[in-house]
Structures are given as structure tokens and as C-alpha cells.
């Protein structure tokens, strides 16, 4: 199955010029249907959202330096942590890897000229921006103080914030997710290069595929939930409000039915990125390819059946809690498999410590800590004590920030030469990876202890005995903030002053490295033909294969 056929005429200009030079006007960017340019549009938006959500987090940590709260106003504090959650979950974590790295790399990795629906892809970006703008407007103009979880009846009856507007923005952005998911699924089914069978797909593609299925199946539930909440808030129709016969727990069931799979939407792409980086820098085929692939699929499936573990103390039945507890342990098994497989890939490798690899190694460490603390909150009686405290905050930040954000930065550095045609300053990138790891642990590790001691989440003020650990955490967050600003600076610098990147700086085997950096608009001058699996890294000590055989070859 090939995306291309011989009779398609490629304009000569498109072959000579990189996609970056194929039109320089604003219009050529805003009306582009090139997946690579749309990825760049997304990069710009996602980066803005990341720093906005990060600024809110910084103010949250600032407030918590003293027990009385330095901001002085619980209302401001509540709005800030809500803004942090809403922006980071819906406008950074869920979309980040898919719409930027995924958008750019998927067609290149499978030897296609573009996604299956290029115009839908552009439309997705506009939907994302419209949704984001509406939500931001609600957050800034009216303020929102429900937390990102919108629990009823606080959100429907009691909150004075701009709930309806914020929810409308998330509702709109949801359609962007659904369209992106559909686009990816169909692209991966239909546009693979000749010879690229399912078991020859890179693990990144499998992750993107599993993620897309989650996006398409779960996001509509979020849309329905938000719609019901809006109707309840505006017209008091009585779905969630017990005063008119509704059930507030129904909202939580619906919300977590989306939001738990959403956790895996955030982390699956991270798994995919790490599974590309580790073989490339260990110079080894990935260990247990099929196990990794099917672990992704298993996570996608089981993740739909664990939402109840957010409600162990919410007032659901004891039996359902027991069921959701065992299912939560089941979903942790495939994640554990992945960690062991990455370690197996390092075994007997030839390991290079370039910046992407440092981020990937950091990911393994932090994700493992996040994973084992997940076992704590899956154990029912332990969860009763730990849930709704800082323990949970620390746990999911280890997965989401320690895991997913590390993976995002790893992927960004790994594919940066391909995307921009420039190399970043390697020393700075290694320093940033190291500082990020240290700052992250200093910020979030104390929160595990705070949680055990019983400090509740979402408190603008707290008891004095919690201050030492809070100050430690806030101190760590300043280091973390600096670590995030570093890449912003040196990556922007590299756009103008970085060394020109060769076609394949990492000697990696993926198809995306078999075309110039940055790629031409049509991606490949000739259709690649794939003849073997994705990670055919040769052993440098064998003379016979000093040169890496690529994943596929471009036949003239």
C-alpha cells in the first residue's frame, strides 16, 4: 500500500526548497495544508499555553511559601490553580505531543506526503485556537474557580466564575482533538509506504494510533458532559443537582470516564517518543517490540475501565470500589512492561548521552516513581488516606510533568534538527535536562510527604507545620521554571545561529531521517520502500555492518 503512485507530478520547486521556504507570507502559513507547517503553528500555540499554565503554577507556588498565603486572597489563588489545571490539561498535556511532534513526524515516519486530510488538519488548528481563545477569555475576564474538574453542584449552582464560557471553549477544542484523532487513524491505516507492515511500524506510530482511538472514543463523552453541565447551570434541568432530583455523582462518573483515558492520552505519546529515542542512542533494536506495541494497545483498552478509582471516597458502592481497584492494578501492568523493555534495550547497547537521551533517561526515572506511587493510591484503604492530598498532586505530576513533559522535551530535541534544519547547542541542552530533573524532584518530592501528613489539595492557606516542605517545593519550582526557560532561549537562538543540521545527525533508522533536514514540502523526493523492522541498529563492533542499514530506502 503506497501513498504515492508514479503518475503524481511533483512540482520542481517543491523538491528543491524545504517546506520552510515554500512561501514566507503570513497567508502562506495561516492557510497552509502542509502537516509540517501546521505542526509549527501548533508549536507556537502550545508553547504559549505551556508558559501561561506554568506562570499560573509559579504563582500558586509563590502563594504557598507562607501558611497565610502570600497572595492574600483565596479567590485569586483558586482562580490561579484552576487556570493552571485547565490550560495545562486541555491546552498543553493532551494535545502537546500529538499535534506538534505527531503532526510533523507521523507522515515522515510512514513515508507519506501528508496526513490523510490536510485541510481537516488545518481546521483542527483553528478549532483549537478558537476554543483556547474562548477559554482564556473566560479565565482572564471573569475568572474561574471550580478547579479543572468542574465538580457539580459547585460548578452548576454555586460558583460565581465564568463556568459556562470556559466549558464552551473546552467543548470547541474537543472537536479539534476528535478531528486530529480521526486524521491520524486514517493516515496510519491508508498512507503507509510500500513494505511498511503493521509490525514494521515504529512504536511511536503505534502509540499515536492508540492515542487517536482514545481521542475519538473518549472526547465525545467530555463534550456531552460539559454540555449537560452547561444546560444545568443555565436552565437548572436537574441532571446533576440533587435539589431538583439530579445526582452530583453522575457528573463525576461521566467526567472521569473521559478524564481517566485522558491521562493515558497524555502519557501514551510520551511512551512513543521514548521508544524512539532509546534505541537510537543505545544503538540497539528495541527490546520486546511486540510487547511494547501491545502494551500500548492494552493501556488504551483498559484505561476505559478504571475511571471509578477517582471516586473511592466519593460515595459510590463498596463493590464498585473493589472492582475499580483491581482494574487499576491491571492497567499498571503494561506500563511496568514498558519500563522493563526500555531497560532491556539499554542492556548491551552502545549508549550515547546526547540531550534527547538524557531526557529519556530522566523520563524512565521519574515515570517509575510516578508509577510505583500509583500503586499506593490504587490500594483502597491507602487511597482513603492519600486521596485529595498533596500525595496525589505529587503522584500525577511525576507522571504528567516528570514523564510526559520530559518526553516532550526529549522528542523536541530529537526531532529539532529535522524540523528546523538547525542543531541546538548541545552543552546547553544537556545542562537544561539535568537542571529540569533536579528542579522537578525538589518541587514535587516534598509533596509526597506533605500528602502523607494530610495536607489537603487546593488550599490557599495551610497549617504552619506544613511550611518547611512547602518552602522546599516552592524553591524547587524556581529551579524548574529556569530549566524550562533555558530551552526556550537556546532553541530560539538556534533557529538563527545554530549549525546546519545534516539529514541524519543521530544516525537513526527511522524513515523521517531518510529525507533532507528540513524536509521538502512533499517530504520525500521518491517514495520510500520499507524492507525491514524499524530499529535495525547494527552493532558498531561488527565490521561487516559499520554502516547502519536504514529502515527503508528511497528508490530512484
Amino acid at each position: 500500500m503506497s501513498a504515492e503512485s508514479a503518475d503524481i507530478k511533483i512540482p520542481a520547486a517543491a523538491v528543491d526548497r524545504s517546506y520552510l521556504h515554500d512561501g514566507t507570507s503570513l497567508k502562506s502559513w495561516l492557510l497552509t495544508t502542509d502537516h509540517k507547517r501546521i505542526a509549527i503553528l501548533y508549536f507556537a500555540s502550545i508553547t504559549a499555553f505551556f508558559f501561561l499554565g506554568g506562570a499560573a503554577a509559579a504563582l500558586v507556588r509563590f502563594n504557598l511559601i507562607t501558611p497565610q498565603g502570600l497572595l492574600g486572597s483565596p479567590e485569586t489563588y483558586n482562580r490561579l490553580f484552576t487556570m493552571h489545571g485547565v490550560v495545562m490539561v486541555w491546552f498543553f498535556l493532551v494535545p502537546a505531543v500529538p499535534v506538534t511532534l505527531g503532526n510533523f513526524i507521523i507522515p515522515l515516519m510512514i513515508g507519506a506526503r501528508d496526513l490523510a486530510f490536510p485541510r481537516l488538519n488545518l481546521f483542527s488548528w483553528y478549532l483549537f485556537m478558537v476554543g483556547g481563545t474562548i477559554t482564556l477569555w473566560a479565565l482572564f475576564v471573569g475568572g474561574l474557580d471550580t478547579g479543572w474538574t468542574f465538580y457539580t453542584p459547585l460548578s452548576t449552582t454555586y460558583s460565581k466564575g465564568h463556568v459556562a464560557l470556559a466549558a464552551a471553549g473546552i467543548f470547541v477544542a474537543g472537536f479539534s482533538s476528535i478531528a486530529t484523532g480521526l486524521n491520524f487513524i486514517i493516515t496510519i491505516h491508508r498512507l503507509r509506504a510500500p513494505g511498511l507492515t503493521w509490525y514494521r511500524l515504529p512504536v511511536f506510530i503505534w502509540s499515536m494510533y492508540s492515542l487517536s482511538v482514545l481521542l475519538v472514543l473518549a472526547t465525545p463523552v467530555l463534550a456531552i458532559t460539559l454540555l449537560l453541565m452547561l444546560l444545568e447551570r443555565l436552565f437548572h434541568i436537574g441532571v446533576f443537582d440533587p435539589a431538583v432530583g439530579g445526582d452530583p455523582l453522575l457528573f463525576q462518573h461521566l467526567f472521569w470516564f473521559y478524564s481517566h483515558p485522558a491521562v493515558y492520552m497524555m502519557i501514551l505519546p510520551g511512551f512513543g517518543v521514548i521508544s524512539e529515542i532509546i534505541p537510537a542512542f543505545a544503538r540497539r533494536p528495541i527490546f520486546g517490540y511486540k510487547f511494547l506495541v501491545w502494551a500500548s494497545v492494552a493501556i488504551a483498552v483498559i484505561s476505559f475501565f478504571v475511571w471509578g478509582h477517582h471516586m473511592f471516597v466519593a460515595g459510590t458502592s463498596v463493590y464498585s470500589a473493589v472492582l475499580f481497584s483491581i482494574l487499576s492494578y491491571m492497567v499498571a501492568v503494561p506500563s511496568a512492561i514498558k519500563v522493563f523493555n526500555w531497560l532491556g534495550t539499554l542492556h548491551k547497547g552502545y549508549i550515547h548521552f546526547d540531550a534527547p537521551m538524557l531526557y529519556a533517561l530522566g523520563f524512565i526515572g521519574l515515570f517509575t516513581i510516578g508509577g510505583v506511587t500509583g500503586l499506593w493510591v490504587a490500594a483502597l484503604a491507602a487511597d482513603v488516606h492519600l486521596t485529595q492530598t498533596y500525595f496525589v498532586v505529587a503522584h500525577f505530576h511525576y507522571i504528567m510533568v516528570g514523564g510526559m513533559v520530559s518526553a516532550y522535551f526529549g522528542g523536541l530535541h530529537y526531532w529539532w534538527p529535522k524540523i528546523t534544519g538547525r542543531m541546538y547547542p548541545e552543552a546547553w541542552a544537556r545542562i537544561a535536562a539535568l537542571v529540569m530533573f533536579i528542579g522537578f524532584n525538589l518541587t514535587f518530592f516534598p509533596q509526597f510527604i506533605l500528602g502523607y501528613l494530610g495536607m489537603p489539595r487546593r488550599y490557599a492557606t495551610y497549617a504552619p507545620e506544613f511550611q518547611v516542605l512547602n518552602v522546599l517545593s516552592s524553591a524547587g519550582s524556581t529551579i524548574l521554571a529556569a530549566a524550562y526557560l533555558l530551552p526556550l532561549a537556546y532553541l530560539l537562538w538556534s533557529l538563527l545561529h545554530g549549525k546546519r543540521a545534516p539529514q541524519n545527525p543521530w544516525r537513526a533508522t527511522g524513515l523521517e531521517w531518510q529525507t533532507p533536514s528540513p524536509p521538502p514540502t512533499v517530504n520525500f523526493i521518491a517514495t520510500p520502500h520499507v524492507t525491514q523492522g524499524p530499529y535495525a541498529y547494527a552493532r558498531p563492533d561488527k565490521e561487516s555492518s559499520a554502516k547502519e542499514p536504514p529502515h527503508g530506502e528511497a528508490h530512484e
Binding site: L249, I337, V339, L343, V372, L380, A381
Partner: protein, 311 residues
């Protein structure tokens, strides 16, 4: 752990589970980090160490670590679930204390009529069961020293049981985000030895106990007009309430429910939802008419009409 006292029967059991989790977590982390560090030093690119032959039979390793992981997880699941289920089965003679949450305050009513705000006094070594409801949004009653917490929902009764095993004063938190002053919704739980608890009850005299106050409300809200007392009046319009609590009630739609506190509460605020077999849907809803505190008193009074009922 010294910073967080362990002040309930449950707390020491939960701590044992947490210690086990800590041990398992550390074992996993030591394993992962040790392998990671060993591999990245031993197999760094310029290391001359002989790599030998790459293993090919990965499925042996895969099944081994998948199986081992699964076994450990199952063990943790059984431990955690067993303890959790036992927490939900308080002894029959538990002291029942009522808690009403509202933005941003805890109101406590003792069965003998004493009231407290943002404080809860309980006797040492006596099983206590809290019956909790909210007047507005969802709150959560959390006492870290007892390792317990449970959401407090509007429009229904949730229960939370514990037995305090150490006298002292412990912080109480609302841990479900409930609006602007969420972090002010705190209080304290005071555990007193039985004699001191009795003295505390005596120091806080009340006009009437909950049953007495409920009886007054029962007349004031006109309940007695239809749900007539005694056998002398044949109750045609409404079912009698004597001896109702704790009994099975056949409903007009064929179901049978047990008349527990939640049923009594719901039958006052949403009477149309569960019509007793043989009666018509005549009773108006009192939702919004009667505060949750008054509802508690009414429910307590109705319970008192069943002298031989389970406590």
C-alpha cells in the same frame, strides 16, 4: 512517623499497608535505578566491554516480569481492599453522630442534643459512626490522624466510621474543593476518655435532645396531620411511621427497600420517588423547605418511633 499521630484503630492498619507499599516501591526503584545506572556506565558507547551475544528469546523475560508484577499487584489489591471493606462495616453499637456541612463550616449534632461548630468531641475507644450530609456543594470530612476521609454530598446521607484509640486533639479538614474559602473549612476532632466525654456532654446542656426537637418539628411542619400516631386513627392517606425504621418497605413499583436514614430523608424531600405500596402520590415535597439540620432531627425522631429497631 512522628509528625502524624496514629489515633484510630484503622490508622495503624493503614500505616502497615503504607509501610509495605513503601518497601515494595523502594525495592522496585532500587532495581530500576540500579539496572539503569549499571547499563549506562557499563554499556556507554566508548566502553570496550564485550557485549557478547544479544539475547533473542525476549518472551521468557517478558512473561517472567509480567507474571511477577501481576502477583505483587494482586497481593496489594487484596490487602487494600480487605481493609477498605472492613472500614465500611462499623459495629452495630456505634455511637451515631450527625454532621452537616455547608460553605464553609462543619456543624455537628450529638444524639443527646449537644451542638458544635467546626469541632467534634468523641469518646475514646468507642466506635463512632458519622452520618453526614451537605446543605450546598460536595465537601469531604477528613481526619488524617485517623487515616479516614469521605465525601459529604448534598441530598444524601453518607456514613464514616472510626474508633479513636488515642486521646488528644486532631485536625479536621474539608478535602473536596468547595468554593472560595475551602481552606478555611477546617476544625478539630477532640478525643476524650469516656468519663471526660460524659462530663463534656453534661457541661453543654441542651434544651432538648434530637428526638425531642424532632418531635416539635414533626408537629410544626404538619407531618402529624397525615402520618397520624397510634392505632386509634385508621391512617388512610399516609403510611404510619411507628416501627418503620429498619424494616423492609414494599413500594408501589414492586421494589422493596429498607427504611434506613437515607430512605427517611429522601421520602421527605422527594416523596414521589418511592411510593409505599397501597398509597397514592399525595405528599408534597419538602425540598428547600426544611434545612438539613431540621431534616436530621425529623429523621432521628422517626427512628425513635421504632423502640426495638437496630441502633
Amino acid at each position: 512517623m512522628t509528625l502524624l499521630p496514629s489515633a484510630s484503630a484503622n490508622a495503624s492498619e493503614v500505616d502497615r499497608l503504607l509501610w509495605a507499599l513503601l518497601a515494595i516501591s523502594l525495592a522496585v526503584l532500587v532495581l530500576v535505578f540500579a539496572l539503569l545506572l549499571r547499563y549506562i556506565t557499563r554499556y556507554r558507547a566508548n566502553s570496550p566491554v564485550d557485549r557478547g551475544v544479544e539475547g533473542t528469546k525476549s518472551w521468557i523475560f517478558e512473561s517472567a516480569w509480567t507474571g511477577a508484577t501481576l502477583l505483587v499487584f494482586l497481593g496489594l489489591f487484596v490487602w487494600g481492599a480487605n481493609l477498605y471493606v472492613r472500614m465500611f462495616n462499623p459495629p452495630q453499637d456505634a455511637l451515631r453522630i450527625y454532621v452537616v456541612a455547608k460553605q464553609w463550616m462543619w456543624k455537628v449534632e450529638h444524639p443527646s442534643g449537644q451542638r458544635e461548630i467546626n469541632a467534634l468531641h468523641v469518646p475514646l475507644n468507642r466506635a463512632v459512626q458519622l452520618i453526614m450530609t451537605s446543605e450546598d456543594v460536595i465537601h469531604d470530612f477528613s481526619v488524617p490522624a485517623f487515616r479516614i476521609k469521605h465525601d459529604v454530598l448534598p441530598g444524601r446521607y453518607e456514613t464514616l466510621g472510626f474508633t479513636a484509640t488515642r486521646a488528644g486533639t486532631y485536625p479536621l479538614y474539608c478535602t473536596q474543593f468547595c468554593g472560595v474559602n475551602h481552606s478555611m473549612m477546617t476544625g478539630e476532632v477532640v478525643v476524650l476518655p469516656p468519663a471526660q466525654f460524659a462530663a463534656w456532654l453534661a457541661r453543654n446542656p441542651v434544651a432538648d435532645d434530637l428526638v425531642g426537637e424532632g418531635r416539635t418539628l414533626y408537629i410544626r411542619y404538619g407531618c402529624s396531620g397525615c402520618h397520624a400516631r397510634g392505632a386509634e386513627v385508621a391512617t388512610v392517606r399516609a403510611p404510619p411511621l411507628e416501627g418503620l425504621y429498619g424494616r423492609p418497605v414494599p413500594l408501589s413499583d414492586g421494589r422493596t427497600v429498607t427504611a434506613d436514614e437515607r430512605y427517611l430523608h429522601d421520602s421527605i424531600v422527594a416523596p414521589g420517588a418511592q411510593i409505599v405500596a397501597g398509597y397514592q402520590d399525595l405528599m408534597p415535597s419538602y425540598a428547600g423547605q426544611i434545612s438539613e439540620e431540621d431534616l436530621l432531627k425529623l429523621v432521628t425522631y422517626i427512628k425513635s418511633l421504632s423502640p426495638e429497631s437496630p441502633p
